[in-house]
Amino acid sequence: MSINPALQGRSYPQGDAYSVGRESIREFATAVKATHATHFDVAAAQAAGHADLLAPPTFAIIVAQRADAQLINDPDSGIDFSRVVHAEQKFTHHRPIVAGDELVAELHVDTVRAMGSGAMITTRAEISTVAGEAVATTVSAILVRGEGQ
């Protein structure tokens, strides 16, 4: 099955909120070998001016990839997840993510470019709090490999 070119311009609404927990921040920080005290010690995070534990710079990928899953799992998209390769990723932080945040993401399919029998798809997740405060914008390019690619 080939990639549906009509995906370009499509958007997917905010799904369930992602609750940012202290242990999730500690586990993610440990997983990316981050050692800064603001990821682990609430008092250190507060002393640095944050309401609670601070998430590492790439933590928003959790929320972004949940949003991307809406597209990848959409039967209408024609995307075979086992042939997806992450090609590019960008984060722009509007404000730091901290424990206690309730985050939602609206996903936009910005471009779909055919490449042989596969395609390069660029998505943008606009991440905000449930109250509507902008938190981060993430842009992902995924390459869906066609047959023999």
């Binding site: 603001t38 944050h50 990928i61 990723q89 932080h93």
Partner: protein, 141 residues
């Protein structure tokens, strides 16, 4: 850190990142990315990879620690992006990392009005770049 003391071309530091299979298991659990190409050799080979490869986001997330440690504040990283150009195969070895990645950071640009520095990261495996245009924009107090 004082903005006026920074110069384009200045190296902020370098580090060696040893990656073991358990690092990929931890990253899968912490991120929710359970794609089997990051933990199942048989599956990885079926999709024409050399074997288990690291999550691109693991490499990206670990590489930026050089920047956060240099600036001393993870929330100072206001933008960060990269292209993933080559996979990082992680061998299943006892007693040592299954891949060793080198990370070097250099100041690529300075914006005095915004008081930001762009740090360009060179991230290599066996001398070949695995991240291309890996750039972090950092607010310097």
């Amino acid at each position: 850190m004082n903005f006026s003391e920074l110069a384009v071309g200045q190296e902020i530091g370098a580090r060696t990142l040893g990656i073991s299979r358990v690092d990929l298991i931890k990253y899968a659990g912490a991120s929710g990315d359970f794609n089997p190409i990051h933990w199942n050799d048989r599956f990885a080979r079926e999709v024409e990879l050399p074997g288990v490869i690291a999550h691109g986001m693991f490499t990206m997330g670990a590489a930026v620690q050089l920047v956060t440690d240099w600036v001393g504040d993870p929330s100072a990283v206001i933008a960060y992006g990269t292209r993933f150009t080559k996979p990082v195969p992680v061998a299943d070895l006892d007693g040592g990392p299954g891949a060793v990645v080198e990370v070097v950071g250099v100041i690529g640009a300075l914006d005095a009005d915004a008081s930001t520095a762009r740090v360009d990261l060179t991230v290599t495996l066996d001398g070949q770049k695995v991240l291309v245009k890996a750039q972090a924009t950092v607010r310097v107090a």
